[in-house]
Symmetry: C2
Subunit: 115 residues, 2 copies
Amino acid sequence: MNSKDAVTCLAALAHDQRLAIFRLLVKEGPSGLPAGEIAEAVDATPTGASFHLKELDRAGLIHATRVGRYIRYAAHFDKVRQMLTFLTEDCCQGNPELCGSTLKKARKLCKGETK
Amino acid sequence: MNSKDAVTCLAALAHDQRLAIFRLLVKEGPSGLPAGEIAEAVDATPTGASFHLKELDRAGLIHATRVGRYIRYAAHFDKVRQMLTFLTEDCCQGNPELCGSTLKKARKLCKGETK
DNA sequence: TGCATATTTCAATAATCCTTGTAGTATACT
DNA sequence: AGTATACTACAAGGATTATTGAAATATGCA
């Protein structure tokens, strides 16, 4: 995962309907859902859903499989995980344990240790 | 964290320089860095950096503190974490353990359990 | 083969976002 | 007060992205 990849993923998710689609597919699990059902669930036109699904696919966040005359889409878990890791990499100079669950805690622990 | 919030965060990060800024600040830790130093680090004009910093601030991913005539920006860890959680919420019908570290594993475990 | 269903592709318009330059505000120093 | 530094706000343009409708492709079934 590099910066360009991450931007593509983030941009793909940075849209109301696409985020809804992605979360729906995450919820649905590996077997996924056909495009038409997805479109209906997020209240999109077939054309619109197709456009957004293509964006998510292009980013590698979902993948398509044709099953008869349906095309099923499913979330690609690894890609999200890679992106999430990339986002917080090298946290606090490589000491992620410094940034506990709250900012206050992190601030207390890290204070004075940055240039 | 709701869908609108998440889209704002994702859009804020979905830009090369803003992602670089955010990762720089994550690396830097709670004490943050002044705007000028950030601009220089990501090779942005002062105006450009200011615009991008404002976007990240608006999304709640970083926050500004004036220190003398400098304005220091620092990453807001909790916000990222909230967003990351939101992204994978209700994974596999509320059974996140089904989506282990690889898609293969998840697929094996979940197979046949979705409608 | 011919028709129906599921989905995509294409083209055009509308909307949004990024960039650049200029001017403005806030603080510090003399 | 006057000047320098650090940064932000505004405005105009160019570029990218979203939306829509119409036409095309692929599959399944009679």
